[in-house]
């Protein structure tokens, strides 16, 4: 790796970790929602480094586009009950720090103990061929998960509409007619 590539990698890592920290730590939740954007873009940058242009586009469209917009919509619709002045953490604040820190330590120890033999230099891959083969694979070997995901998306959409509609307003409209 050239020094430029190392600098780019460090920059991307710093952006991703910092914005993830901001998402969980910032008191104003609207700001936390906006911090999701650099986080998703940073993770997408890692997909790009690992030569997965298609997954980067998907990350941009689905996470940085759809998921963030839905999160911001929900935050703004429930805005009157969230006061940025009051604390946004519950009583488990200290326990949460301890739990996540010990989890991270455990993972790091496990990684260093058992991953040593696995780190080999990756062979270069052709990203155009990856996208083409991914499309073929999704419609051949993996056509069942592919179709199941579409069924899941449809049912999630119907469920979201059913849960989010307001029965009271609809009843008032019916009695008004």
């Amino acid at each position: 790796m050239s020094p430029l590539e190392t600098a780019l990698l460090l920059f991307l890592t710093a952006i991703t970790v910092l914005s993830a920290l901001m998402v969980v730590a910032v008191r104003n939740l609207i700001h936390a929602g906006f911090w999701l954007l650099p986080f998703f873009l940073g993770v997408g940058g890692f997909y790009l480094i690992l030569s997965l242009e298609f997954l980067f586009a998907l990350q941009l469209l689905l996470y940085a586009g759809a998921v963030m917009v839905v999160v911001l919509f929900a935050l703004m619709l429930t805005r009157d009950v969230m006061n940025p002045q009051i604390r946004q953490t519950n009583r488990l604040y200290v326990a949460a720090i301890a739990a996540s820190a010990s989890m991270m330590m455990l993972l790091i120890v496990l990684i260093y103990r058992h991953l040593g033999v696995l780190s080999v230099l990756p062979a270069p891959v052709d990203s155009d061929a990856i996208t083409r083969r991914l499309g073929t694979m999704l419609l051949n070997e993996y056509v069942l998960p592919f179709e199941l995901t579409s069924a899941l998306l449809l049912s999630a959409m119907l469920g979201a509409i059913f849960l989010a509609r307001n029965p009271r307003i609809e009843m008032e409209e019916e009695s008004g007619e």
Partner: protein
């Protein structure tokens, strides 16, 4: 990008750090929407792991990438349903704080 010299450890450690950050938010946040945002961080950490292991260990087969595709779709569905549930709770109880919604506590 030329990955020579960059060990798999880098991606796995980064993913562990992101997972721990998401776990912290998951436990400590009061607002249900903020909890969902932390879940997104955890899911992204898992996706990064899938992709890194695929790239370093099995670059010839694409199973890891298919996994990530399915995970991203499930995450999108999860966010849609989660937000609908949060809005429904907000309408009936006028709060979105998970420590105040204790109607089902035994």
């Amino acid at each position: 990008m030329n990955l020579n010299g960059l060990p798999l450890h880098f991606f796995v450690l980064l993913s562990a750090v992101l997972f721990a950050i998401g776990l912290y938010g998951l436990i400590s946040r009061r607002n249900a929407i903020a909890v969902l945002m932390s879940i997104e961080i955890v899911m992204n950490a898992a996706n990064l792991n899938f992709v890194a292991f695929w790239r370093y260990l099995h670059p010839q087969s694409l199973e890891g990438v298919v996994f990530v595709l399915v995970t991203i779709t499930v995450a999108a569905a999860e966010v849609a349903v989660g937000m609908a549930v949060v809005l429904s709770i907000y309408r009936t109880l006028h709060t979105v704080n998970v420590d105040e919604v204790a109607q089902m506590r035994g």
